[in-house]
């Protein structure tokens, strides 16, 4: 089990304040503009040490246990723009864990320290036009030329892609094929041959910029390789566990907030002579969501305890990602439904929540990919 102490409560209050002041205060404007100032927001979170909570203090990290990461995730999940929460989570738990675990000291000094401080914005470049769920199908190729990699190819769906200072790029560095012969490389976006070909216009997560990146004879030092050449796929699979957990932590905060706000609205909204919340049909749906939320929260605690104990959390992360996404979609549907017309207009939060949460069943490994992983972990058949 995990234990919550005074410092955990203090940290939660800190992140809640930051979310209110640095995100929520401007969220409507940034959602409408279709972008947010990542350097400004990341600096605010970086200055208090929220972007490298578990990392080595030598690189500006907090050296803390994973429990704080869960609290961070839950609290950014309460933000009124999940797109900005996702952008932050990319920085803290998707683009940097491999560099922290496997990178050389020089590489960490140059790229991790400023990311933790919020001075550099990072992105994670895995997905390609023809390789999303099937990561092993990716084609972007790095060929060695002396001390440099020459990289050609493209990446699609890259969060923070327009604002990033560097990308943690997964590429092929040999012709072995499949999951063999891949490497992770830190690619500065100032590299010659790097370009952003387009910004994607999305259903939701509208404040977050998502880009297609093109690499044309892009040269990057071989010393920018994270860890071992050829171990990129395995390192990335490891990094995906952090990505999936932070996704699930966020949904605890997001669903909890949505549940509170929906119940509050239904208390005040009358129809047929009584508050809408007085209807059992509505109460039961919200009660069921609340029950699932409690189970998810406790499952996350178990994952945190396993993580803190150094155990493999693949199964925890897979279950958490799958069920948190499904719960978020159920909550979003209930929020829109019970708000009626008020839930369908842009003036109110449910519409954005509905669009934003829909991503959870697609990004970071779709629901079916989670099920595929589970079916393989458990002797179910596959």
């Amino acid at each position: 089990m995990i234990e919550f102490r005074e410092e955990h409560h203090q940290f939660r209050a800190l992140i809640r304040d930051l979310v209110d002041n640095e995100i929520n205060a401007n969220a409507d404007e940034w959602e409408a503009a279709g972008e947010f100032p990542a350097h400004q927001v990341f600096k605010a979170f970086g200055s208090v040490g929220a972007l490298g909570i578990e990392y080595d203090p030598e690189y500006g990290g907090g050296g803390a246990e994973h429990t704080f990461t869960m609290i961070f995730g839950e609290e950014i999940g309460r933000s009124s723009s999940l797109g900005i929460a996702m952008a932050l989570a990319v920085q803290s738990d998707m683009a940097t864990p491999a560099l922290h675990s496997f990178g050389s000291h020089e590489l960490k000094d140059k790229y991790l320290t400023p990311a933790v401080a919020g001075d550099m914005v990072t992105a994670i470049g895995v997905s390609e036009p023809d390789a999303g769920s099937d990561v092993a199908a990716l084609r972007t190729r790095a060929v060695r030329d002396g001390d440099e990699w020459i990289i050609n190819g493209s990446k699609l769906w890259i969060t923070n892609g327009l604002q990033a200072d560097w990308v943690c790029l997964l590429v092929r560095t040999s012709d072995e094929g499949g999951y063999k012969g891949m490497s992770q490389i830190v690619v500065p976006t100032t590299s010659e041959g790097f370009s952003v070909s387009r910004k994607l216009d999305k259903l939701g997560m509208r404040a977050s910029d998502t880009a297609e990146l093109i690499f044309t004879d892009m040269r990057v030092p071989v010393s920018n390789t994270i860890g071992e050449v050829g171990r990129g796929f395995q390192q990335q699979m490891n990094q995906f566990q952090n990505e999936r957990m932070i996704a699930a932590y966020q949904m605890v905060g997001a669903v909890e907030t949505a549940l509170e706000r929906t119940a509050q609205y239904l208390k005040e909204r009358n129809a047929f002579g009584s508050p809408l919340l007085a209807n059992q049909a509505i109460q039961y749906e919200l009660a069921e969501i609340s029950a699932h939320l409690e189970v998810l929260r406790h499952h996350n605690w178990a994952a945190v305890a396993a993580f803190n104990a150094g155990a493999d959390i693949t199964r925890h992360a897979t279950v958490a990602k799958l069920l948190s996404a499904r719960l978020a979609r159920r909550m979003a549907d209930a929020a829109v439904q019970y708000h009626g017309g008020m839930g369908y207009v842009e003036d109110n939060w449910p519409a954005r929540f509905f669009r934003d949460t829909r991503l959870w069943s697609i990004g970071g490994g779709a629901d079916e990919v989670m099920l595929r992983t589970l079916a393989r972990l458990d002797p179910i058949g596959a």
Binding site: E6, E7, Q10, L18, S47, V48, G49, G62, A64, F68
Partner: protein
């Protein structure tokens, strides 16, 4: 430069609980947090110590049940240590009773060049404690500070007024109340939160401070809360239709409020 800041730990305004119908006071048995009004004093103290290049910020608080969470927040912002007075005999203390306790606690906190307070707490609003502390300590009292500078042993304060501000000078040490909102309180950092765990909180009772139980709490209170009543519901606002001249009405409204 050593600065003492009096900080109150209050029920979370987001979840304020209730008034006790018997004692007619706010129930304070739940978790307490740092009164936001006090975060400005803490910030100002940290800035003054920084500017002086040496010294430290010490917190002084009186709270039930040995409550420290509000203190930890201010320690995480950068204060060095705290004195906490917690004693069952303090329940029911009025403003003067509170001031007596805080004055003794300030003396216990060590040599102070400056004592900062908020102008009033967010849950009590008597707004009299800072001046009473100054009187009890026989120190100059300056109120409603919006800016504080130290020049040798002289304190220079911009004291907020309706029209602007007065420039006030007095010798140090002094007791100064700080107006809410005049500085941007820093966020405590993750490292600050972890460091705050091991910063010393000197928890004392009234006996430790040499205070007679009969002079504080219900026993010593000269003030009595005779009645509590529901605040009147706020009146509906006025809607001004803009016919191109609405600004004149808005300006008049703000002018009547004396905010422009």
């Amino acid at each position: 430069m050593n600065v003492v800041v009096c900080v109150k730990q209050i029920p979370d305004p987001a979840d304020p609980g209730a008034l006790d119908p018997n004692t007619k006071t706010l129930k304070r048995d739940g978790k307490l947090i740092l009164d936001e009004s006090d975060s400005y004093g803490v910030e100002m103290a940290l800035q003054l110590v920084d500017a002086a290049g040496s010294g430290e910020v010490t917190l002084v608080s009186m709270a039930p049940n040995g409550e420290v969470s509000g203190l930890r927040t201010a320690l995480a912002m950068g204060a060095a240590k705290a004195v906490l007075v917690s004693d069952d005999a303090l329940a029911g203390s009025d403003a003067l009773g509170t001031s007596k306790v805080l004055a003794k606690a300030i003396a216990r906190a060590g040599e102070a060049d400056l004592i900062l307070t908020a102008t009033e707490s967010s849950d009590g609003y008597t707004g009299t404690v800072p001046e009473q502390i100054a009187e009890l300590l026989q120190l100059p009292s300056v109120t409603f500070a919006k800016e504080i500078a130290v020049d040798g042993s002289t304190l220079k304060v911009q004291r907020q007024t309706e029209a602007g501000y007065d420039e006030v000078e007095c010798p140090l040490p002094a007791v100064v109340s700080v107006t809410a909102g005049v500085v941007e309180p820093r966020y405590p950092s993750f490292k600050g939160i972890m460091a705050a765990k091991s910063k010393p909180v000197d928890q004392v009772t009234i006996a430790d401070l040499g205070i007679d139980a009969a002079s504080v709490g219900w026993a010593g209170a000269g003030q009595e809360i005779v009645e509590i009543a529901q605040a009147e519901a706020r009146e509906a606002g006025t809607i001004i239709e803009d016919d191109g001249e609405a600004f004149a009405q808005v300006v008049k409204f703000l002018d009547d409020l004396k905010v422009v």
